[in-house]
Symmetry: C2
Subunit: 349 residues, 2 copies
């Protein structure tokens, strides 16, 4: 089982997940190229038995679970970074939430060090049966189904007592950390509020305390007014490059309506979110020649009432630059392309 | 001139350095392979005129500045992330510090956004005249000269009023962000204490407040006692994989003597530091087949009295894993190799 370790200087928690360890020797080998082949792909039709049993699937009524014919399929990650306790593994399903447990936080102290099991959730959302079509290439309806699956799983695991925070991410392409080629997303349920989220929540709360307004709402107002970083706009969303973009072509999608939790969006907003997400990713795909990218959805942690000051959103990062010694040692990013220039390029496609 | 921009949600500062911008189109091109050639290398003998005039060089007595024959050479970065003001550019040298300036912090507010010029220092330390020899392949004496140059420049620019913090970093290999192949280090002088450093200082100070001891000294004690993460040890230094390593083969070099500032080490310690740095990098080179890597030296910010609680050290990261959506969205790293396993591999070479 993977474990969390606390870096004693900064207090940062790290997951040590030796179950998916490579042999040290294998790091010395040359990087293999992506196979561009669906042979033995566990996410393709016919290979459903290669994954753990599904926890959710959109498939024709009456069809057998874990058979082919599904449109979106959600399965536990075979090599999870966060796991449920062994004795609980039996009862994972879309409807029954993992049983609660009072003694999940068995933190152990070892002198100045401490560690505890990395309990939580790690699932894979397979976008479609098509091995070659990333979100940018799916239809709006297909992307909407993926979003439906995101919301459905977020709501299903929300009350799990092990989980403090839920994060949906997409890694696209080998260089962006996608170990399997078939397009998919991942859902992480963590036993803590992670530092990036904690910082966002604290800062948004402090801004609200001072100004009485949501910082994200204020950003939307500013971006709509200036327009110089707006990539595209729909009825309910704005897609733009943030003022202090950390990387070339960093892009945010922010809902115009103030709402802390992504999983609470309406049916109409889901449809519109599918449109703007596909539109933005298509611009990245076309303009930058299908680059590797990462994106994540920041939604409010479940146990804090952030309704007044937090605002869910998406942050997209095409993988076009390298986080090197300066960025790592300082925490300050160096961006070689201004967000205004990135915007111009993506907007005019 | 590059500028700093503040991300309004988290308060993070970002450098926007459009002077070294790539054309958006060029991001779509395939990544070129390292040339493995010294043609037109600005850091090789004979090409000294291709860099800005040197600010320091170790060369035979009486030799002309900016001629060949040097052993280590330090020049301002041609495309800096932090720059001195234009009118000050004339007077940079090893001995004369940039003139002071009271009005360097011209922060400008634009609604919720604010920005200011990225004033500071960005220099390149060329390790040797050999285009193909990284630190792992130099002799101990040659590495010692590089360390001498680090200390010399840190002391020379320490009193610059623009600079709040100094950071030395090495990017080795294209995939680790080295844009020039010829082995070199970089010195950054920043107009703020960067977040990674601020966090370390705050945490170390708080630990000292509670325990009355330096956290790094306590880590040394713990690591020497257990021994399971010690890669190598010299008279004055310990090289080990930290308990909560964020990446496979992350390695720290920590001096046994409590000292906040790297640049204050003694001659004897410099010699020993050269030995352990080369020893550690040689293990990485041999064991992992000359992987790309980053390292940085964390030394105390100059304007805070951290003598009691801070402890300078080096953090080394072979570039063998990818920071993907989860790490970016959460701030939590997933490490697929335990530090104990990394240690065993590097120690037994």
């Amino acid at each position: 089982m993977p474990e969390l370790r606390r870096e004693p200087v900064t207090g940062r928690w790290v997951v040590i997940a030796t179950e998916r360890a490579k042999r040290p020797e294998s790091f010395a080998q040359e990087r293999r190229k992506p196979s561009k082949s669906r042979a033995n792909c566990p996410f393709c039709y016919g290979n459903e038995a290669m994954t753990p049993p599904e926890v959710l699937a959109f498939r024709p009524e009456g069809a057998e679970p874990n058979s082919s014919g599904w449109r979106v399929r959600v399965v536990p990650n075979k090599f999870p970074a966060f796991t449920i306790k062994d004795e609980q593994k039996i009862r994972v399903s879309a409807t029954s939430i993992m049983s609660n447990s009072e003694q999940v936080n068995e933190q152990e102290e070892l002198g100045i060090y401490s560690h505890k099991p990395a309990l939580g959730i790690h699932e894979v959302i397979i976008s479609s049966s098509d091995h070659f079509k990333s979100l940018a290439l799916l239809t709006n309806d297909e992307v909407e189904l993926v979003i439906e699956a995101y919301c459905s799983r977020l709501l299903a695991v929300k009350d799990d007592p092990m989980v403090q925070h839920l994060l949906i991410i997409v890694n696209h392409g080998n260089e962006a950390g996608a170990s399997l080629e078939h397009p998919h997303s991942q859902l992480f349920g963590m036993p803590m509020i992670p530092p990036v989220m904690a910082e966002e929540i604290n800062c948004a709360s402090s801004y609200f305390g001072k100004k009485g307004r949501c910082i994200f709402c204020d950003i939307l107002t500013e971006e709509l007014k200036s327009g110089e970083r707006v990539i595209s706009e729909s009825e309910h969303f704005l897609s733009f490059s943030p003022y202090a973009a950390r990387q070339p072509f960093e892009t945010w999608i922010v809902p115009k309506k103030h709402l802390a939790n992504f999983e609470f969006i309406s049916l109409e907003e889901k449809k519109d979110f599918a449109f703007i997400l596909k539109d933005t990713l298509s611009r990245v795909y076309k303009g930058l020649n299908d680059p590797p990218y990462n994106f994540y959805i920041h939604t409010s942690p479940k146990k804090i009432d952030t309704r007044k000051f937090y605002h869910w959103h998406v942050e997209i990062f095409p993988k076009l630059s390298i986080q090197a010694g300066f960025e790592m040692g300082s925490g300050i990013m160096i961006n070689v392309t201004s967000p205004e220039e990135s915007t111009k390029f993506l907007r005019n496609l």
